[in-house]
């Protein structure tokens, strides 16, 4: 009843308004009703003159469809920005409607107009209060959302209560919504701050990834200065980061950047040799080694600092440009100098994105490139300008190119600039000229070249280009006031043609400044100027006065009258500025009785040597802002910008971040585990269990859940926990030096963790046997526990495992336990052939196979092709340097037969360096090499090698498919040893997989000249198929081609450098004879290979 009476009273009011509105709105809305809500086509109503009345009628009808239609039209009005507030009473009645769409539309309306109709809005509150108690979490959340969006101060207490309740809701989704509500309430009533901070504190402890982003957002808005709230949650946030939704990641990253700047000491200190070692030490659980390092190193990165850097790095691969930028700025502001480089690639990638993204990213790169040229120099070409780029993008790219210019690349850049100067976009051409000017001042080698180039531009047809050149030349001459009178003369000649005021003024200034160098021309120019004085622009007039004054002082004989004439003209000029200047100059230079004191110094005032202008980047001062922020983009401090503090000199107590736990095992395992991407897998499995929501809750609270989740979610869970525990132990050991009391508890933690770890392991084994029917899971878990995680082997398991896993169950597990350390895949034992392992990593493939693949419609199980890499038993190693000749340093090399990662056309070599002497060897590195055209990939310098220690490094050599030896020097700090590697022809190959058909087809192409064959007598021991295979593969790195025939064995490979196909066929005749055929267009190679094969097969 109350409702109704209210309505009527408001209706009257509304009616009046409606009448006012009706006129202007009527027509436009009719059309929109036809188009906008078209489908329903309420033409009947749209013809009505007072259409808001019919909306009201529709809302009050009993038909759902009519109500919905009315609401749709009202939303259409709101969207257009039309006022629909007089319908409030009619709309608000439908707030409790059952129809979801209707309800949603009512919410939209309510949120929009509640502020204007506060009393009426109150009518809806009870509905939401009721909904807040709904058993369905989504309804609770949506009620809270709308309730908190209603900006009516009276309901602040209700909102506060609702937020508090929802913050401890079972559902993480509702908690997330309450985090959003915090910000809404805060903006409605800032007095609630204290209470809201309490809620934030509570929600910050939340372990759900859903909540994390939203609550940090609330924190940033309500209490960004309460850094103490973050301490306890810091590690958790770092670890959750990977799984937080992308928008939350951005907010958390920026908050953590600020946090880290207050809590850790600067990693940028001078003389810090911070490198891989430190990171290694962090992962290392060996605490003794650690201690030594502490003594050596003056700076030690806080493990928490490292944790942040490590956990954020994968986010550089995010598809969300904002996330990538957030990580980039975090690295920029927090990472040690040499690590910042990792963000470069990703930032350059963003340049492929939309125009607006490019704009912001380029701005940030511009700032970065000023301080660290090296970061972006390799990507110089990515900043080349295209004629289709919008102007602001062009200018930014130009800015960056200029920043990146150095002696080495300046010629390339200047050539590029030449193209730009001719651009049709004249503003851009002008900017290019300025850029040339900057290059000229920055790099003294090219100053003259640039100056000459700019002088050439003076004869350009375009005025803006000429004007800009003049201005830049003026600045350049000023920095180099040597014998450039030629250029000044040239400009004086051009003067008549130039009409742009700024350029004319610049020339005049130049002539005046250097009038003594051009004594003949200067007075003449002044004469011309005296004639045209009245028609010049103000800026030019000022310079004329200036020139006159300077000439008067230096050459008064010729110019006295002219000067007086000009000063007289200036005296009656319309512009007061010019009049003032004239008066001032006259008093200064013309001696009379009144101005005795100052005119003595006129010469020193006017002709004082002037400091050269600094041509510098407009982005020079932008680094005062945090990168990626709005303030940085605008170069103005935006409201709400939070300063990034300087690093503290001494790190605040780091123990504040320690989380007290009653059961140490528990706290670490579940939270930390989430950091890994594999967690998503984990989640996926638990999700399929059905009750992920409850699961999450219980996982966080009950102490046993760590174990239970690992058992239920099979390997991914265990993998995480076990990795993390070792991680955590490293952490604890690093802390142990600093506070011994802490380390004790941590150690305890570790012990506990190790227990879980072993438990987990045993579980892995169990679960594996259960899951044997699932190929990939089984194989990769075997990878886990056999601790051999070489890429190729795990990859290889993959294909085969799927094919064969159904056939085995138990035996596999046993086998694995029997030989846990060998890298050989367990699957091989199933087969009789010990040799080939698959790897899809190989870059080699057969062309026809690929065309097959293009369809990829092969069934997932039986695939004829597998790419092979033989992981052939013990790899033969050869001597490179004997310790006698190497003064204690000995080196051996071997071919690991894996593609070289850095340069695919290089042969991969592993070099084992051993220190057989009794003293420390330092700075092991590669010296000069020959022949000169040999390309090789050096290994990183080894700082030191302890006596009796040895280290294995990998390097790549491009042998260019020849057996020519590679000679190079192996250097220590003191000595250089020349060594030589003679490649074995079989090692210059990489295996290729192909089918028999492909093989035959390819072989058909390589006949005649390209075929070499020989008949041999085989040693009896090699006659069996397996032994033969083994023997061939020991000689050459080839892939076996599966054939149906028993007596014919085929092998295929490609040369590493050129990728030429090498096919080997061994055909067994009646024992022990056999024909060996090699087909390849590398004939030299073929004969050498054939010889090797002959030897290997014939020998016993």
């Amino acid at each position: 009843m109350l409702n109704a009476s209210n309505n009527t009273s408001y209706n009257d009011q509304g009616g009046a308004e409606a009448a006012l509105e009706a006129g202007p709105d009527g027509t436009s809305n009719n059309s929109s009703a036809g188009g906008g809500v078209g489908p329903a086509g309420f033409g009947l109503f749209s013809t009505d003159f007072k259409k808001n009345d019919d909306l009201k009628e529709m809302l009050e009808s009993n038909k759902e469809s009519l109500k919905l239609e009315a609401m749709k039209r009202i939303v259409g009005l709101i969207a257009k920005g039309k006022n629909a507030s007089e319908l409030f009473p009619a709309v608000v009645k439908n707030v409790a409607n059952k129809n979801i769409e209707l309800k949603k539309l009512v919410y939209v309306y309510l949120v929009r107009y509640a502020e204007e109709q506060q009393d009426l809005a109150l009518l809806s509150i009870s509905t939401f209060q009721r909904a807040l108690k709904d058993p369905n979490q989504l309804i609770r959340a949506s009620a809270l959302r709308v309730l908190s969006s209603i900006r009516v101060p009276i309901i602040v207490p209700i909102m506060m209560l609702a937020i508090k309740e929802s913050a401890s809701d079972m559902s993480p989704y509702v908690r997330k919504t309450s985090a959003h509500a915090i910000q809404k309430l805060y903006s409605l009533d800032p007095d609630q701050k204290e209470q809201l901070i309490e809620v934030i504190e509570k929600l910050l402890k939340d372990k759900s990834t859903l909540v994390a982003g939203s609550v940090v957002m609330a924190y940033e808005e309500v209490c960004p200065d309460r850094i103490d709230l973050i301490h306890k949650n810091y590690r958790k946030l770092c670890n959750l980061l990977m799984d937080v939704e992308e928008w939350g990641q951005v907010v958390i990253l920026s908050m953590l950047t600020r946090y880290a700047r207050t809590q850790f000491t600067s990693p940028w200190k001078e003389g810090v040799s911070f490198d891989e070692n430190n990171e290694k030490a962090f992962y290392d659980s060996d605490s003794e080694e650690k201690k030594e390092e502490v003594e050596v190193k003056p700076y030690m990165m806080d493990p928490d600092h490292r944790l942040l850097l490590r956990n954020t790095k994968p986010l550089l691969q995010s598809r969300n440009t904002a996330v990538v930028m957030a990580v980039a700025q975090l690295y920029w502001h927090l990472a040690p100098t040499h690590e910042v480089g990792v963000v470069t690639k990703s930032l350059v990638r963003l340049l492929r994105s939309h125009r607006e993204v490019q704009y912001v990213v380029l701005q940030n790169i511009a700032t970065m490139s000023i301080q660290r040229k090296g970061m972006f120099e390799p990507y110089l070409k990515s900043f080349y300008v295209r004629s289709t780029d919008p102007t602001h993008i062009k200018t930014l790219k130009l800015e960056i190119l200029t920043n990146l210019a150095n002696e080495a690349n300046i010629s390339t850049i200047l050539r590029e600039f030449q193209t730009y100067v001719k651009s049709q976009d004249k503003a851009f051409a002008a900017a290019t000229i300025q850029a040339i000017g900057r290059c000229a001042t920055d790099i003294s080698e090219v100053t003259d070249t640039c100056l000459n180039g700019l002088v050439l531009l003076l004869s350009n047809r375009d005025e803006t280009v000429v004007a800009e050149s003049v201005v830049v030349i003026k600045k350049l001459l000023q920095t180099q006031p040597s014998q450039h009178s030629d250029i000044i003369k040239h400009m004086a000649k051009l003067f008549d043609k130039i009409t742009v005021a700024m350029a004319r003024a610049s020339i005049l200034w130049l002539i005046g400044e250097y009038c003594e160098r051009v004594p003949k021309i200067a007075p003449d120019v002044l004469r011309k100027m005296a004639k045209s004085f009245t028609t010049e622009e103000d800026i030019v007039k000022l310079q004329i006065v200036n020139l006159a004054a300077k000439l008067y002082l230096t050459n008064s004989k010729q110019t006295k009258l002219l000067t007086q004439y000009i000063l007289n003209l200036g005296k009656y000029d319309q512009n007061y500025d010019i009049r003032d200047r004239t008066r001032f100059i006259r008093q200064l230079i013309v001696p009379n009785e009144k101005s005795g004191a100052l005119s003595k110094y006129a010469r020193r005032i006017l002709l004082a040597p002037k400091p050269a202008p600094l041509l510098q980047s407009a982005f020079k001062d932008r680094d005062r802002f945090q990168l990626g922020t709005l303030s940085h983009s605008l170069n103005i401090k935006a409201s709400g910008y939070l300063e990034l503090s300087d690093w503290p000199a001494v790190a605040p107590d780091q123990s504040v971040r320690n989380v007290e736990v009653i059961e140490p095992v528990k706290e670490w395992v579940p939270t930390v585990g989430k950091a890994k991407p594999a967690k998503s897998e984990d989640k996926f499995y638990s999700d399929s269990d059905g009750d992920q929501e409850e699961d999450q809750g219980s996982k966080n609270s009950s102490s046993s859940s760590g174990d239970s989740s690992s058992s239920s979610s099979s390997r991914s869970g265990t993998e995480d926990s076990d990795e993390e525990s070792s991680d955590a132990s490293a952490k604890s050991s690093s802390q142990s030096e600093k506070s011994s009391s802490e380390s004790e508890t941590d150690q305890k933690k570790n012990k506990n963790k190790r227990n879980t770890k072993s438990k987990a392991k045993s579980k892995t084994v169990d679960s594996e046997s259960e899951e044997n029917n699932n190929g990939p899971v089984a194989s990769s878990s075997s990878e886990d526990s056999s601790s051999s995680s070489s890429e190729s082997s795990s990859d290889s398991d993959f294909g085969k495992g799927q094919k064969k896993s159904s056939s085995k169950s138990k035996p596999k597990v046993q086998v694995k336990e029997a030989q846990p350390k060998k890298e050989v895949s367990l699957l091989d034992l199933d087969d009789l052939t010990p040799t080939p392992l698959t790897t899809p990593k190989s870059a080699m493939y057969s062309p026809s196979l690929l065309s097959d693949l293009e369809g990829l419609s092969l069934s997932s199980i039986s695939s004829p092709m597998q790419v092979n890499v033989p992981t052939f038993g013990p790899v033969k190693s050869h001597e490179l340097l004997h310790h006698m000749s190497g003064k204690g340093l000995s080196a051996r090399y071997s071919f690991p037969r894996q593609p070289f990662l850095y340069q695919p056309h290089m042969v991969h070599l592993q070099i084992t360096l051993t220190n057989a002497s009794d003293h420390l060897l330092e700075e092991l590195h590669l010296g000069e090499h020959s022949p000169a055209n040999l390309t090789l990939h050096r290994f990183n310098t080894i700082d030191q090698l302890e006596p009796q220690a040895s280290v294995t490094v990998s390097m790549g050599i491009d042998f260019n498919d020849s057996t020519q030896a590679a000679n190079f020097q192996l250097c220590t700090k003191e000595d250089k040893f020349s060594v030589s590697i003679q490649p074995v022809v079989g090692e210059l190959l990489l295996p290729t997989s192909m089918t028999q058909q492909d093989f035959e087809k390819e072989q058909g192409k390589l006949l005649g000249m390209n075929e070499t064959s020989a008949t041999i007598t085989m040693a009896v021991s090699h006659c069996s198929g397996a032994a033969l295979n083994k023997q061939v593969l020991s000689i050459a790195n080839l892939g076996e081609v599966i054939t149906g025939q028993n007596n014919v064995h085929r092998f295929a490979g490609r040369t590493v450098s050129a990728g030429a196909l090498v096919l080997v066929t061994v055909e067994q005749m009646e024992t022990p004879g056999a024909t060996v055929t090699v087909n390849t267009d590398k004939t030299v190679m073929a004969s050498v290979l054939l010889k090797d094969l002959k030897q290997a097969l014939a020998s016993a």
Partner: protein, 418 residues
Amino acid sequence: MIHSLFLINPSGDVFLEKHWRRVVGRSVCDYFFEARERAGGPEDVPPVLQTPHHYLISIYRGGLFFLSVIQAEAPPLFVIEFLHRVAEMFQDYFGECSETVIKDNVVTVYELLEEMLDNGFPLATESNILKEMIRPPTILRTMVNTLTGTSNVGEKLPTGQLSTIPWRRSGVKYTNNEAYFDVIEEIDAIVDKSGTTVCAEIQGVIEACVKLSGMPDLTLSFMNPRLLDDVSFHPCVRFKRWESERVLSFIPPDGNFTLMTYHVSAQNLVAIPVYVKQSISFFESGSGGRLDLTVGPKQTMGKTVEGFVITIHMPKAVLSTNLTATQGSYTYDPTTKVLVWDIGRLNPQKLPNLRGSLSLQAGAPKPEDNPSLNIALKIQQLAISGLKVNRLDMYGEKYKPFKGVKYLTKAGKFQVRT
């Protein structure tokens, strides 16, 4: 973060506004219009602007400006990225992102915007979640809705939002289970006057269309993953697997999505598939000029070049053209000064040629600079970098899906300077 959103059409009218916090008056757009006036074209409007009380961040897409108003510090890329997501969502829902279509579906648009942001902070931006809550309009559904009065707002609640894999809805069912992957590579290159490559790089993207029932877990591996230098993934891809094994392992979203984008490492030389022999010259007298273009295939790996189009932005002084093309057709728009030569399929035996004269505005000076040529082309069944998909496996479901991979090479920002 984001306070309000205004959609502005090319003629400068605000045709939709949405506020997530207190209402911000439309007059704030005036600052934007001023900047729009000052800038040469719509593309030249700076994306980030400052006004006395607000900051304006805008994107320009499909002829429309999406203008968002923010009041305090917020990462500009955050807003820009979100606005693009909104535009993509419209595209996804309505097939295109234009003024008409937004006006026609204003209610759906409003419902979408309402769900995408809460108090200016993104809430649900995954198309799968949104589609569960608000069904995209189809002709059939519109008819049914009109007749029965039902709505396109899903009866179901957005359970996807609670899931830990928010990109996939549960209970997907198809009669034909299919998974298609398109490997699309774009060549970005600048070729100079003499035909030498100034810079060239390959950017690739794998677009997927996965229609598989249940919760399939897919693994995609490449023959030569080392080619990939820099990658970014859809959130569904398990980054750890990629790091350790270089395979893409993921539970796919339902329907169309971008699985990954990549950049091919710089060491690999980029094969430029076509060459252009050009000579564009203007007479000293300033009365006209000549144009002679010949194109031909260069390194196409035995594939045919299709969809070959050359676009030239002529200098302002060029009034009209009188050209003959041996293949394809050309158009010259005298108002925008754009010459488009649509060649189509490239025949290596008979090289297409376009030649003729250009007439200049009387009295105009000879243009300083020759215009550069922008090239568009397509090569089917070829990934120019040589990237190959090795295999695709599915786990977690019993049925056998139909799988397909398609390769396509396109010209990205391919420019020939003259």
